[in-house]
């Protein structure tokens, strides 16, 4: 990857993280998961998906589904950076005058489908993928799923069907941040060996560092990974990536930070020392 492109992606991702941090007060948001998939979402929209506001109704566009919907701040932050959403609107987060709340919904242009309940968008995306196949269109259909979300039986049920129908226009990206809500995945319902599980369900898998744009470029350069197979990228990520004070912390899943914490976290994102967090931990949502 050339330096200019890499720098542009890194700068965009940094600004997306700033948006996420700013959305973590006044009611709060799911900051950890948003930060873990921010780089992936930035890469997919900037480099991979063939979609733009002009193409929102184009049947030949690529489709993106955020199945683990609670990390929508990363998506809205990306939309702002793409110029699809006015930055001012992020300040409407959780205001009843707008539709920017904890999960994606189709009132926000660019969102293909709502999510929030885990284990849904994979099968919805498969319906889209199936229709594209039937119409012999070349669209790519991308679904970002959480690793915790893989507890849901509907994910594996859907995979059986996706493989049976050889939906190789479908690309599943797993945000493997090792956490689900306030637990580590391997401490609760272990997913290992995850690659073997996907492989046994008929998928073709690539494993990458989900914060490394060069690895993303390599992995996403050619899809499907194998003809007639669903492509799966297992992206190893860090929950809370970019903020050492909350990184990998089980008690910082959902946060509702105070004004001064947010100011300090923005500085921390740019290299300042760890923030002293005083707001409540383990907020149940």
């Amino acid at each position: 990857m050339n330096k200019k492109k890499l720098n542009d992606l890194e700068q965009t991702a940094l600004r997306v993280r700033e948006h996420i941090i700013r959305m973590s007060g006044n009611g709060g948001c799911f900051i950890g998961a948003s930060l873990s998939c921010a780089d992936l979402i930035v890469y997919l929209y900037k480099e991979f998906l063939n979609v733009s506001p002009k193409k929102f109704q184009d049947p030949n566009r690529d489709y993106f589904f955020l199945s683990k919907g609670h990390d929508v701040p990363a998506l809205y932050g990306t939309y702002v950076e793409l110029g699809w959403l006015e930055e001012e609107r992020l300040k409407n987060h959780l205001k009843t005058t707008d539709n920017i709340y904890w999960h994606p919904n189709r009132n926000i242009p660019g969102i293909e489908f709502h999510s929030g309940s885990l284990g849904h968008n994979l099968s919805v995306a498969m319906g889209v993928a199936m229709d594209c196949k039937l119409r012999k269109q070349k669209n790519k259909i991308v679904v970002v799923v959480g690793d915790g979300e893989l507890n849901e039986g509907s994910m594996w049920e859907a995979l059986l069907v996706a493989s049976a129908y050889k939906l190789d226009n479908l690309l599943i990206v797993v945000d493997r941040n090792q956490f689900q809500a306030n637990m580590q995945t391997e401490d609760l319902i272990p997913l290992k060996p995850l690659t073997k599980k996907f492989s046994a369900f008929g998928c073709s898998i690539k494993k990458i560092n989900g914060h490394n744009f060069e690895q993303m470029e390599k992995a996403f350069s050619k899809t499907p990974f194998e003809k007639n197979k669903v492509s799966v990228v297992i992206a190893e990520t860090v929950r809370g990536k970019g903020l050492p004070s909350i990184q990998k912390r089980a008690d910082r899943w959902f946060v509702n930070f105070k004004e001064e914490e947010i100011e300090q976290l923005l500085k921390e994102l740019h290299g300042s020392k760890k923030t002293k967090l005083t707001s409540e931990t383990i907020v149940a949502r």
Partner: protein, 301 residues
């Protein structure tokens, strides 16, 4: 004309229709190879079936999905509510062997809360055809309706010739003023015969086929309440959330009350067996229904 003929015809006219099933092909067994490009069988996966139907609808398709009513409305309930309901997508959800039609299967297969839970979802309407004739007359309009519908599949032999479908309108048989019988679905046949028995006993009856419990024909119900001495509700459904509840809601909304005799399942599943025996056992034959009505009329006079 059969259900198969109808969907085959629809697909030939309009490529948007997709016939889907989670391995329950009984309603389209003979045409699957002829409609290959518009047919998807997802295997025994009700959740994936509904999720995919939502995705197909996002692409402009009109999916008609089929599975046993219990598994479809309950295993996949949250997918119906969350993907089809919130999305207000034109998915047509066809539940097979609802109510008494599960006959010998036992309680696992008894969809007798389906009307209640489906009508509780915003955007989703409910159609319960009385028999094959009623089903085939109404379905073309219901399939082309731009919102989701739950359909209680019923291809039983008709006992009466049905009229043209009018959206949100009940179908009226007679204008009697002693008794109004409200019914939907398969039990229409028993209700129709009960009407004949009552009339031969000098009791005047109006039979109201509530084709769509949602949207319900409130005017037909209010008129019956106004004009008839006794209101009877008949449904192969739990007493909660179905026709009896719908009647209660209509009455309360309009500050009315009525003399009501309900036929429904009272907090229990029904006895499995051969259909006619089950009806007899549970007290839902035309004869049993009409006798109970005659008794009730005598008490209330």
């Amino acid at each position: 004309m059969t259900y198969e003929d109808l969907i085959f015809e629809l697909i030939n006219k309009d490529d948007r229709y997709m016939i889907m099933t989670s391995e329950n092909r009984s309603a389209m067994r003979n045409i699957t190879t002829k409609i290959k490009n518009n047919f998807i069988d997802t295997g025994i996966t009700e959740q994936t079936l509904i999720g995919m139907a939502a995705g197909l609808a996002l692409r402009g398709r009109i999916p008609i999905v089929h599975a046993l009513a219990t598994f479809l409305t309950m295993r996949a309930f949250e997918f119906i509510r969350t993907d089809v309901g919130i999305g207000n997508l034109p998915v047509k959800i066809v539940g097979a062997v609802p109510g008494f039609l599960s006959d010998g299967n036992g309680p696992t297969h008894q969809a007798i809360e389906d009307v209640s839970i489906m009508r509780g979802i915003p955007n989703i309407n409910v159609f319960c055809p009385a028999d094959e004739d009623d089903m085939l007359k109404c379905l073309p309009k219901i399939f082309e309706y731009p919102s989701p519908f739950y359909i209680r599949y019923n291809n039983t032999k008709p006992v009466a010739e049905h009229s043209k479908f009018e959206f949100g309108k009940a179908e009226m048989f007679g204008e009697g003023k002693d008794v109004a019988i409200l019914v939907y679905g398969f039990l229409f046949g028993q209700a129709f015969k009960a009407k004949e028995i009552l009339e031969s006993n000098g009791i005047s009856v109006r039979l109201i086929n509530i084709r769509t419990p949602k949207p319900v024909d409130e005017n037909a119900i209010l008129k019956a309440v106004e004009e008839c001495k006794l209101i009877v509700t008949i449904e192969d459904h739990f007493i909660t959330g179905g026709l009896y509840s719908i009647l209660a809601e209509v009455l309360l909304r309009n500050r009315k009350t009525a003399n009501v005799l309900p036929f429904a399942f009272m907090n229990k599943w029904f006895k499995p067996g051969l259909l006619n025996d089950v009806l007899e056992y549970e007290g839902f034959t035309a004869k049993q229904i009409s006798h109970k009505i005659i008794k009730q009329l005598a008490v209330s006079h």
